[in-house]
Symmetry: C2
Subunit: 274 residues, 2 copies
């Protein structure tokens, strides 16, 4: 436990039942009308990591944003649905008490954990050649949601449009990123970083329409040991859309270490209003 804001935000205490944890939203990771989605996703991984029955390390995560998370306390349940010899499957929910005093689900999730072993390995998605981090300017926006201050982001391609003038463009973004202040990488922080990309629809259309992630899946290709090697180094993140239709678009994303190791691949489905 450090004094880093992310560690404070991720604090979960034992809850009322064997599989439940108690926490509260953090002002440090607040977005416009709720917490930064990467923060909520990270809570699912954090609950699994703290569960005494945990086997191995996270390999796959899916979170579904079922409803608004509001400021205040929440309960996370993380239940091992099946434990095999080297893999384990978790079912997770985050709920809050609504105005009527009833528990209401704000997030559902599944996590798969596994014992990692050495096998044949290769990287079929090499890190793109981009401007080095030292030559990339740190992004800052006046009046931006507070969670953006928790990341050092340096766009090298596809920054937020300077002008929302409706000029259509590619949906590709590439940026260097790390926690602000720096913090050694782990599964929980990597989960959050897979969601730092602003809505592709803003870039694609140069139009600021209401948008929010509804489901996100992340595969972890790195072990904790590999993340320890990354330490507080910058990651290169890349995100791109595939289809926009009927009020939803998808996004594929990759996160590499500075040394070119593909640490995680991710995809998400995002609601957009018009």
């Amino acid at each position: 436990m450090t004094h880093h804001p992310f560690d404070h935000a991720m604090q979960l205490l034992p809850g009322a039942t064997a599989h439940s944890f108690a926490g509260a939203t953090s002002p440090d990771y607040w977005n416009m009308v709720g917490p930064f989605g990467g923060y909520t996703a990270a809570l699912a991984v954090q609950a699994v990591m703290q569960h005494p029955a945990l086997l191995g390390e996270p390999v796959a995560l899916t979170v579904n944003y079922a409803g608004a998370t509001t400021q205040g306390p929440f309960t996370v349940t993380a239940t091992p649905a099946r434990t095999n010899r080297s893999t384990q499957h978790w079912v997770i929910a985050l709920s809050q008490t609504n105005a009527a005093g009833e528990p209401e689900v704000a997030m559902t999730a599944t996590v798969m954990t596994a014992l990692r072993r050495d096998t044949w390995h290769t990287n079929d998605m090499p890190m793109p050649v981009v401007t080095p981090v030292n030559a990339a300017a740190k992004d800052h926006r006046d009046g931006a949601p507070v969670w953006l201050d928790r990341y050092d982001m340096r766009f090298v391609h596809g920054s937020i449009p300077q002008e929302f003038d409706g000029r259509e463009a590619s949906s590709l973004t590439q940026l260097w990123m790390r926690d602000e202040p720096p913090r050694p990488l782990d599964f929980v922080s990597l989960t959050a970083m897979a969601d730092v990309f602003y809505p592709r629809v803003w870039l694609r259309r140069a139009k600021r329409v209401a948008a929010g992630t509804v489901s996100m899946t992340t595969y972890f290709h790195a072990s904790q040991a590999q993340m320890t090697d990354v330490g507080t180094g910058y990651l290169l993140g890349q995100a791109q859309a595939q289809a926009f239709r009927h009020g939803f678009f998808d996004q594929t994303a990759q996160l590499w270490s500075g040394a070119g190791t593909l640490l995680a691949t991710s995809t998400q489905l995002v609601y957009y209003k018009e």
Copy 2:
């Protein structure tokens, strides 16, 4: 209800509780040691589609293969965790009675459904230019698992290696596909078709190692009306790996209609032995 083997295989009857359904595995979609994974994934969507509380159409699905599904009866539970004005979030499990007479979870899943609306739309992942379906040969392998007979597959790139000689290659596969015999496309059959791709590791290494999907996520970009337009036409499917490490590799996939509409995007994490 037709006499198509897929419809027989997808039959679910009301179960013992409000959110449960009873079914049994189908010999028609059998793989080597269990059902074809696309069949099991499709059951999760089928349960949601048959639930009387359903709102809208599927937009996102994640299935986790938690353990072996064995031949015989199973129970699928599909519980609406949260229903909003235009979206709904489902938590699903498939379980079977094990040798000790206890229920055991073989699959966990989440589904998001939504009312589709007309919005601005575009396709950022155009269908690749490939050999037309009429000029592509139908794949057939003697002694192959029976589920392969349920699909008309015509590889145009990255077929199963003729020789498993260890010659490394790209992990990209492109193929035309449809149900065999033909069957009008719907969400349930599209779910299954997103899993027809043989393990990328076989292609990448020209080596046949034990492999099996452990988690799969599919986003549906088409409405039922658009699928009705596709009818029994061939889809073009494409799959490619990003990273192989520690006994798991991932795969991204896209499925287009013959007219070039991106119907679904999918990703999966696959176990491989060595």
